[in-house]
Structures are given as C-alpha cells and as structure tokens.
Amino acid sequence: MKDILNIVFRLTVSCLMAAMVMGAAFILTDKAKKHNEHAREERTMYSLLGYGEGKPVPSTLALHQIYRYVITEPGRQLIGYLVPTTHAGKTGYTLVSLDLEGKMADRKAVALDVEQSREKEDRDKAILAVIGPGKEIRFADHTIVVTDNGKRVAYLLGGKFPGFKTFINVMLALDQQFTTLGLEVLENEEDPGLGAEIEKDYFKNQFKGRAVDVLKGLQVVKEPLPDQYRQALEGRLAGADVSRIMEQFKDKNIYALTGATISSRMLTDGLKGMVGKFVYRLDILDHVLNEQKIAVSF
C-alpha cells in the first residue's frame, strides 16, 4: 500500500512540475507568437500591394479591417459588418447590420480598440454584448480596405475554399476597379511537386492584372505555358518586357499546372467565387454607408 501511495505521489509531483514548465513556456511564447504572426501577415499584405524592399510603404497608407458576420435571430438572418469609424479623430467600431435584401436593419457602436479587434474572441464577445440576447453570430470573412491619404486604393480579400486535397487558403489584392493586383497562397495541402506548385510564381502571377470581367469568365486550359510568358511571370526579364508580355496575356485563360489540372481549376473557381461575392457585397455595403451617412474611416 505504501508503495502505491509513493508511486502516486511521485507521479503527481512530476505531472505538476511538467505542467508548470509547459505553462511557463506557453505564457512566454504566446505573446511572441501573436506578434510574429501579425508581422508576417502585414508583410504578406504589403508585398501583395507591391511594396517591399525596393519600395517602402508610404506613411499615408492605412489598412482598415472589415469583419463580416452572419447574425441569426429567431425568424430572420442578418449580415453584420464590423467597420471602423472615425469620430472626432478617434477610431472606433460600429456594427452595421443589413437584412438579406440589402437594407439596413440596425446600427450599433461596438466597444473595441484596434488591438482587441484582431482577436476573434474579443470581437465576438463585444458584438454579442451589443446585439442583445437570443441571437447567434458566426464569423464569415474579413476584408481589408487600403487607403492612401483617405482615398481607397486597394482591397485585400482573404478566402478559403476546397482544393484537390483539402483546402486552399489565399489572400487576393484588388485595386479600386477590382482588377487583381496579386495573389498569395497562404496555406495548402496539395501534393508537393504537383498541386503545391500553385504557390510558385509562374502559376500565381498568371492571376495578376486581370480585370474583374475577365476574372469572372476565366477558364483553365491544358496547354503548355509559353516560355516567354513563364520568364515574365518569374520576373526573369527586364521591367518593360514584363509589362509588355503581361499586357499580351491579360485576357487569356489560365495555363494549368502540369499534372495538377484539378488543383489549378479549384484555385481558379475559388478565386472567381471570392471576387464575385465580394464585389456584390461591397456594392450593397457602400450604398447603405452612403445612405445612412456612417462615418467610416475609408
């Protein structure tokens, strides 16, 4: 009996010590993790917009986050947009709820600051506190509006859609006319050497500079990528040549990856869906914001 007590005691002590070590490691690394994640995201976003080592980010550039939620109340559903608003120089957040026909249903100020708004939990809690009991919310997606000196210059969309294997997570940059500026594949689980080539420049960059109408009708063709086009996509030619070749190909269809036609198609279809829905929704949101004269920061 004494032996068993001894064993249990020692086991408990070891477990507690282990838990303390892990807990300490967790607390120490959590902050760094969040900070690094945020820094990486920002770097990806700026590189999509064309800024980077050679072209520094101007101080007049600002990023505004819009979070879209689906709010379910008994009897109806609403789409809620958490938008940043400016009141007397200070930035706050407002939840603008639209019904399914695109008319404004409600508008409430939400108690959040910029740091908190990045954390899903804080956001959800603040929204629930404002809309009242008996309702459910579900986070849908988030868009970033990029302004330079207050004028809209670009949009950044995040999207996740099925690929050949599981999911493909992307970030797409559009300019004010919704022409694509760049595409970044954030996560995918496709086969290395086959589907995972969607991350490579010679495939991703085919989506650059596509007007929104061209994008909507984009198809994937199983033809070999022309050599010159490939060189331009990978940035191996001089700047002027690259622009000329991209101009030549900007209305053409996407050349599929060798041995990964389905991955290419799923990515293209996913992007089409993302952009189509975004343009439709932004239009409705802008109408409501203008009508109701909501002082958004973008």
Partner: protein, 312 residues
C-alpha cells in the same frame, strides 16, 4: 470481439437512419443534388403544376451565404406531380449545404428545407480517406518502426493490426472526450501532446489488464503487441489530427477506424510480400530492412493512385 460488435452495429444502424431523421418538413419526402447544377425534390403529395413552375417562388442560397441568392434557370414538375427538378444558371457547389425556400406551394405556407450531401456519406468518406487515400503508413509515413518490425509474417501482421485498431478507436474516443470537455473549455490546448500520450498509455494498460482477465488465450496471442502500440506514431497522430480539424465524435470514430484499418491493410500487404521475399534471391547488403523499404516505396507509389478519390 463479440462484446464490441453490438454497440458497433447499433452505431452503424443509427448512422443509416440519420438522413431520415434529419428531414425537416413532412411535406418534402427528399431533396438532393442532381447533376452539376440541379436539385431534385420529391413531394409527399402532388402539387400544382403551374405554381411549381414559377421561378419567382423559389429562393435558394448556400447556408453560409444567405445574402447571395443563386439564380434559378428553370423549375420543372414531373408528370406525377410530385418530383420537381430545379435547374440553376451556374453549377452548384455540392459540398455546401443549400437552403431552399418556396412560397405558396401545397398548403399555402412557406416551405423551407435544406439540401446537402448525406451525412453518412461524409462520415464514410472520412473512413475511406483514412483507409486508402491518406493511408497512414503509405501516404503519411507514420508508424514505420512498428510497421517494419511486425510485417515479417502474416500472423504477426494480423495480430498487430487488430490490436492496434482496437486501441486506436478506444484511445481516440477518450481523447475526443477529454479534448472537448476539459482542454478546450479551460484553454489548455498546449497540453494536448501530454494528455493524448497519457490517454494512450492508459488505454494500453487498461486493454492489457482486461484482456489478461477476460480472455487469457487471446492475451497470449495478441498481448505482446500491446507494448508496441505506444511506439507507433499513428496512435498519437490521430488525436492530433482530430484536434486540429476539430472533428465531432462520429468523425473521430471514423478516422480512428480508418487509421487502424489502413494500418492493418498495410501490414497485411507488406507481410504477404515479405514472406515471399524470403524465398527470393536478394543480394546480402539488401537483405532485411533495405529491401523492405524498397518494397514499401513501391506500395507507397501504388497508393498514390488513390489520390483524389471521391466516393460521395
């Protein structure tokens, strides 16, 4: 084994009946995707033909995007007045649940029903994925140490495979319970590695003790493999996958079953080949593990062919 058969069959029966239980309205007998851009609906009683043909009566959208209405091209009622075929302008994404609202058909009220792939199909596809498409040994390269150690004879292979499946299912279920009800509510996510491996050890210990007492004969033939289960990477990979994809209980069960079954399949295939290899002429430097690795490589190539398999 027999003890396990009854609850297993009950679970399967429940799964089969699930789609039937999930049907919302009594008026709609069934609704399913048909073709690339269609939905086929079957009504319990005949409905008015002209009313059913009016496209404006229908509102269809994906459950997650209620503000984006899909454009219906045509609605055609079959000759028996009960089967409706809805055709859409663009292909439907059948992986998502769609909601269909109909105004004023039948008894005048608004009809509201969902169209989705059968849940049973979804669960079954997880099983097949873990078994073939993402076979843990040949596609994910886990559990190799144990794999190469126990694949020399068909008998050892079968024993190891069966024991592994049982421990896998048991420990995966317990891991799910622990994860959902203890780790998540208390934000102790980072403890998952310790907790999962602890549960595995506990399960192995429990199965060991139970088997010893209940069926000593069985224990003598299978018991020796229990110790090896802990050294198997797959046993901890399954709970980790479950936690990263946030599966529910049934999905975890299917994943565990598929993982165990896949391991058994891999072991059986490998042992069949290795038994033959013993009679073949192999250069001395290749004897033993090297040739086994090369055979495994060939199997892995073959299993690559299952990529992208979609049954449901």
């Amino acid at each position: 084994m027999k003890i396990l058969k009854i609850p297993l069959s009950a679970v399967f029966l429940a799964l089969l009946l699930l789609p039937a239980w999930l049907q919302a309205a009594d008026f709609i007998e069934s609704a399913a995707f048909s073709g690339k851009n269609g939905i086929a609906v079957a009504f319990a009683v005949p409905v008015d033909k002209t009313a059913a043909g009016e496209v404006s009566r229908y509102t269809v959208y994906e459950e997650n995007d209620p503000d984006i209405k899909l454009s219906l091209a045509s609605a055609a009622l079959g000759s028996d007045g009960r089967s409706l075929q809805l055709l859409f302008a663009e292909p439907l994404n059948s992986a998502k649940t769609h909601v269909v609202r109909v105004q004023g058909l039948g008894d005048g009220a608004e009809l509201n029903f969902k169209v989705a792939k059968p849940y049973f199909g979804h669960l079954f596809s997880i099983l097949v994925a873990a078994l073939l498409i993402n076979n843990f040994v040949f596609t994910k390269y886990l559990g190799l140490c144990v794999f190469f150690g126990t694949s020399k004879r068909k008998k050892t292979a079968k024993g190891m495979g069966v024991v592994f499946t049982i421990v896998m299912v048991a420990s995966a279920s317990m891991s799910w319970l622990f994860y959902q009800f203890t780790l998540i509510p208390f934000h102790l996510d980072f403890l998952q590695i310790v907790v999962f491996i602890g549960l595995v050890s506990l399960t192995v210990q429990a199965v060991d003790t139970i088997l010893r007492k209940v069926n000593p004969v069985l224990f003598n033939s299978f018991g020796v493999y229990l110790v090896l289960v802990i050294a198997n990477c797959v046993i901890i990979a399954v709970p980790l996958i479950m936690s990263s994809l946030n599966y529910n209980f049934l999905e975890t069960f299917m994943l565990a079953l598929g993982a165990g079954g896949g391991f058994l399949l891999a072991l059986y295939l490998m042992s069949s080949v290795r038994e033959r290899l013993e009679l073949a002429k192999i250069p001395p430097t290749f004897k033993g593990l090297p040739i086994a690795f090369i055979v495994a490589g060939q199997f892995a190539l073959a299993f690559l062919g299952f990529s992208g398999l979609q049954l449901f």
